[in-house]
């Protein structure tokens, strides 16, 4: 689905090579400054690689128009600041920009998406007055409405309280059937429960690229220079830093 080949960007990313399979959830972890956000910005087409290539379904993304990228990939930023009054349904309508379809179809998609994230009653609310947690769910709904097969999320829960964070990951899991998801986060608890694969970056290089269940305490020590405890709970790994 996504193929990254010899990707370099300034001194931030050094010769990255990895593949992301269709319908997988890939976590990208690493210390601050390890190049995670730059990698996501490259994947989303905001910046162009210095050298190296990113292929989406076999085509180099620099050959795609902005609209074409939007039809294939949606990016959810850390935080979005809404400075003007706008209704939730109007905000979600923006997600249909890349598609030329009828108002009725867009309205139906918006309604379905809001139902999926439990925000149906907010359809006519003003985005400006929503809490951080509610807005995060609206951003999920916007990704659903955009109907792109690839979702790229950059620390989507960085500013959320624990309850909103739990809700967000629940909604995410519910919404990503048949989607390929790439998510950058510092929340190892949630990402180990959610992701099928995890890629670890250190100083701009990929040091691990493997299935989530194959990670061990030493790997995390190497990534973060902090000792983590890991234990199995069902088929999932739970990890938390040692105090």
């Amino acid at each position: 689905m996504i193929e990254v080949k010899n990707l370099n960007y300034l001194h931030i990313l050094k010769n990255l090579n990895f593949n992301i399979k269709e319908n997988s959830i890939t976590g990208i972890i690493g210390k601050n400054g390890s190049g995670k956000t730059t990698l996501l910005r490259l994947l989303a087409g905001f910046i162009k690689p210095e050298n190296g290539e990113i292929f989406l379904n076999g085509t180099n993304i620099i050959e795609f128009s902005t609209k074409h990228i939007a039809r294939n990939l949606v990016y959810i930023p850390q935080k979005i600041t809404i400075n003007y009054d706008i209704k939730v349904k109007e905000f979600l309508f923006f997600s249909r920009y890349a598609w030329a379809d009828s108002q009725k179809k867009s309205d139906n998609l918006i309604m379905e998406a809001l139902e999926k994230v439990d925000m149906k009653n907010y359809i006519n609310s003003n985005c400006r007055v929503l809490s951080g947690g509610e807005m995060a769910k609206i951003m999920l709904a916007s990704a659903i409405v955009q109907q792109s097969p690839v979702w790229v999320l950059d620390e989507p829960t960085a500013f959320l309280d624990p309850k909103s964070e739990v809700d967000f990951f629940k909604m995410l899991k519910k919404s990503v059937n048949n989607k390929t998801v790439i998510i950058v986060t510092h929340n190892l608890f949630h990402i180990f429960k959610t992701a099928t694969h995890i890629i670890s970056l250190k100083d701009g290089e990929v040091i691990y690229d493997k299935k989530t269940e194959l990670y061990n305490e030493n790997d995390l020590l190497n990534v973060y220079n902090v000792k983590f405890n890991m234990k199995k709970q069902g088929d999932k790994l739970i990890c938390y830093p040692e105090s």
Partner: protein, 319 residues
């Protein structure tokens, strides 16, 4: 469906604009419209001037609105971004050199203004693309720097020019709507239609851009190409206004803000409201310029700046 409150808002807003426009037609020297000779003078001097003012004000306000949205900066306007000064510089060079142009419909002064406006746009766009961080900040400061640079050359040309050129330049840089026939109006109409068409055609892209360049790109808006289109068309339209009326300050900055206070941020209706409000405001200021000092006409740029500068400070403090 429009709510009742919104309908009343629209009616009040457009009525005020209409009253300002009509009042401006009759401000200043009185004409007896039943007299054929006076009617001809009224049509050629007053009506042409009022229409010219309306078109110029509309263009400047729309230019300000699109720049404020494109760069997500409430202080962006053709003036603060240095485009008006660039156009002034181009026009001043033409005045000083006495360059003559033979393409019908576009005067040498207009061509000079276009060149100056495009030059300033090129300068600002290059600066913004070189220094990729703090885009909005760099854009504004780059524009201010270019403003000073262009103004210094205009002042220099004024200083070294002979008395008649210097006087013409000094008077022209104050901004004025002097016209004696409909030729300036005819020259401005294509640019007026061009900027309106582009603003209305791209209203959806502008609506998304209000929430940030990144979000717009994620939704599929080609922000770079939109910026270039707007830069070229807005600078041509502002260049044409400057060549005909001089650099009229603050209409492009303050009118979009007033309109945004009244209406929701939806660029289709905002653009129309900006044209009507910008046009009526400039025409009304021009009316004031005819009545404030008996027997004399103050250049309209003095009035727009006099009203605009305190508003600019208000915005800064509010921010």
């Amino acid at each position: 469906m429009l709510s009742r409150k919104l309908i009343i808002k629209y009616i009040v807003f457009f009525s005020i604009c209409f009253v300002l426009f009509v009042a401006a037609l009759f401000m200043g020297e009185k004409y007896n419209l039943s007299d054929e000779r006076q009617l001809t003078i009224f049509l050629n001097l007053r009506l042409s001037r009022v229409i010219l003012g309306f078109l110029a004000g509309g263009i400047l306000a729309l230019a300000g609105l699109s720049f404020q949205t494109l760069f997500q900066n409430s202080l962006a306007s053709p003036f603060t971004l240095g485009i008006a000064s660039g156009a002034s510089l181009g026009a001043a060079v033409v005045m000083k050199t006495g360059f003559i142009w033979i393409i019908p419909g576009i005067s040498a002064l207009m061509a000079g203004s276009f060149a100056g406006a495009l030059l300033s746009v090129l300068f600002i766009y290059t600066i913004v693309n070189i220094k990729k961080s703090d885009r909005s900040y760099v854009l504004l400061l780059g524009g201010v720097a270019f403003n000073f640079f262009a103004s210094s050359i205009v002042l220099f040309l004024q200083y070294v020019g002979d008395l008649s050129v210097s006087f013409r330049l000094a008077r022209w840089t104050m901004g004025t709507l002097d016209s004696v026939d409909f030729i300036p109006v005819l020259r401005l109409i294509p640019f007026f239609l061009l900027i309106i068409s582009v603003s209305l055609y791209y209203y959806r892209e502008l609506d998304i851009l209000v929430f940030g360049e990144e979000l717009a790109a994620v939704r599929g808006v080609d922000v770079k190409s939109l910026e270039i289109k707007f830069f070229i068309i807005v600078s041509m339209a502002v260049g044409s206004v400057v060549s005909l009326c001089g650099p009229i300050a603050f209409v492009g900055l303050m009118v979009p803000h007033i309109v945004k206070q009244i209406f929701d941020i939806k660029h289709f209706s905002l653009s129309i409201a900006c044209i009507i409000a910008g046009g009526s405001f400039l025409v009304f200021c021009d009316g004031l310029s005819r009545i404030l000092i008996t027997g004399s006409q103050i250049p309209v740029g003095i009035i727009t700046s006099f009203l605009g500068a305190p508003f600019f400070l208000f915005l800064l403090l509010k921010k």
